[in-house]
């Protein structure tokens, strides 16, 4: 048994990634569950509009963090502020009497906290929940789960598809064929993107028909966001594939990129409930922005202008990750720097920089 244990220990010591995962995963889980795993929202962003906005804002409970007071605006502006995710609560004051309390039902945990806080409070009426009046969990979870599916298809399937070529030795064969690296990459990704689109359509249909998830916004904006998000996830998949020799290694790395996204993106735990440091990690993750976009379009019916921030972040992330992945892939696929697709009869070369190709 001792010999077996020694052999296993030696193998484990050389398998740095598994070792890193064994050590890092508990640390990650500790951080997540220590600082992020909370459903309790202490501060809820609030706008107050109408003639008595200043007066009402001054008297609000501490949980309602006033981000804007606009005495000159009315109910329409308040609804717009909620739809554009500027705030989760809006109070609309009149010349007298009780103000109207509007709550963004798409921000589920904030909405529940506010409804509980304000219900029965003297001077305030029953809150009016917009976008998701029944405060249904499925209306919030299904758009988020779409993102998770796209992460699965984009990252894992792409990484495995490319690593399979490397592991089976056919990546070297592709390297000598008259393909440009972007043709190989594009050709490899296209079927996976097709499957992802079908997946997305099925989930949207099932979500809408079976779970009564609303789809209030423009489908084209949603499609654009999904496409940008797919580029980010597929780019991550390609990056993973360029540093993985085997499919097992690729899956390991893919899980290590997916786990933080699932836990810190606001899919399960609300971002507002997380400690600021952990929340900022969440803001770096593409799934965070896709979820904001998906919930914005589907539940709130937000227009294109209101979703510019998540769309821009996804576009920037997509450009950065995809450029990096193409550069890494090019290094693997065309180390000689030949003129791919050139028709010249002979190519005399005198090259100086070493590099690697495929497997060795």
């Amino acid at each position: 048994m001792w010999a077996m244990a020694m052999k296993e220990f030696r193998q484990m010591r050389r398998d740095r990634r598994t070792l890193a995962m064994m050590i890092l995963l508990p640390v990650l889980l500790l951080v997540v569950f220590g600082y992020a795993a909370s459903f309790d929202v202490d501060r809820v962003r609030t706008v107050v509009v109408g003639p008595r906005a200043e007066q009402v804002a001054a008297a609000l409970p501490e949980r309602l963090e006033v981000v804007r007071v606009a005495p000159g605006e009315g109910r329409a502006a308040a609804v717009e502020a909620l739809r554009d995710a500027e705030a989760a609560v809006a109070l609309v004051t009149g010349d007298g009497g009780q103000p109207q309390v509007l709550v963004d039902g798409a921000d589920l945990f904030s909405a529940r906290a506010v409804v509980t806080e304000l219900r029965g409070r003297p001077g305030l009426p029953e809150p009016e929940v917009l976008f998701n009046p029944g405060l249904e969990t499925s209306a919030i979870m299904v758009p988020g789960l779409m993102g998770v599916v796209l992460v699965f298809v984009g990252t894992i399937a792409t990484a495995l598809g490319v690593v399979r070529e490397r592991q089976s030795g056919t990546l070297e064969q592709l390297a000598v064929m008259p393909f440009r690296p972007r043709d190989v990459l594009g050709g490899k990704l296209l079927p996976y993107l097709g499957v992802a689109v079908v997946d997305l359509a099925v989930i949207v249909t099932v979500g809408v028909l079976l779970f009564d998830v609303p789809f209030n916004g423009p489908p084209l904006v949603f499609a654009l966001g999904a496409l940008l998000f797919l580029f980010v996830t597929a780019g991550i998949g390609v990056l993973i594939s360029t540093v993985s020799e085997t499919q097992g290694q690729a899956i390991q790395l893919a899980i290590m990129t997916m786990l933080p996204q699932i836990l810190l993106s606001g899919l399960i735990f609300p971002l507002q409930a997380m400690a600021p440091g952990v929340r900022w990690i969440g803001y770096l993750l593409p799934l965070t922005w896709f979820i904001q976009l998906a919930r914005g379009v589907m539940v709130r019916g937000a227009p294109f202008e209101a979703l510019l921030l998540p769309l821009t972040v996804l576009a920037v992330q997509g450009a950065v990750v995809f450029s990096a992945s193409i550069a890494r892939f090019r290094r693997d696929l065309a180390p000689s720097g030949r003129g791919h697709g050139a028709d010249e009869a002979g190519a005399e070369q005198d090259e100086a920089a070493p590099t690697r190709a495929g497997t060795r």
Partner: protein
Amino acid sequence: MSDQTWGCRRLGVRYGATVALEEVTFAVAPGTVAAVVGGDGAGKTSLLRALAGTVRPAAGTVRRPAERRLGYVSAGPGVWTDLTVDENLRFSGGAYGLDPGELERRVGGLLERTGLAGARDRLAGQLSGGMRQKLALAMAVAHEPDLLVLDEPTTGVDPVSRAELWRLLAASAAGGAAVVVATTYLDEAERAATVLVLDRGRSLLSGTPEEVVAATPGLVVEGTERPAGLPSWRRGARWRAWSPDGSTPPATGPVTLDLEDAVIVAQLREDRRWAA
């Protein structure tokens, strides 16, 4: 290197700090087969990869045709195991830009010549080693390349399939292609027009098989017992030994050298040089 040949001049290849090839010059003319031989780690694969363009030289020059005119079979399977024989051939031909009519004609011809016609709908992963190598070779020649580079296509293949593979690559050379084949089998290398022997990343011997054999100094002798005091090796049931000064030890007799003897002697001399 003339304008008509492909190859490399004073080629160096490095992987990080490891020197895989140093100062290797090699040429292969159209219509001929050149064999690259050497033991494990000699640098055969690095040379072929540099010729195919999948590894960047650290020094020297490489002369190769444009990639549409190059065919390559790597040391790996070289085929997509989850595609059928037919799909593999069509993918490869399509990648090299063959039009559908030409592709159809060449796929049909290659399936016949390789004896794979009966297996055209079988997954490449379900083929025997020899059949898989024939498929890889067929894929590499489907576009009728000017330079065909093959990395140990016959290693681990049964003798009948080896002979068939050599028939196919000789046919490519007869069709005008320059063929470079790495092999560990010296009986195969003897069929080539020229041979390059690599050892520890350097060129040990080169020329026609006859020139390589003729360049061997001293004498190779053979006997039933292992001769004392001479570097020796087994050939079948008998012992052969290299006598540097040309003397014949007792109970031995001189033999006619072949390429295998010449390569062994060259490597023995190189070992002595390194030991010194």
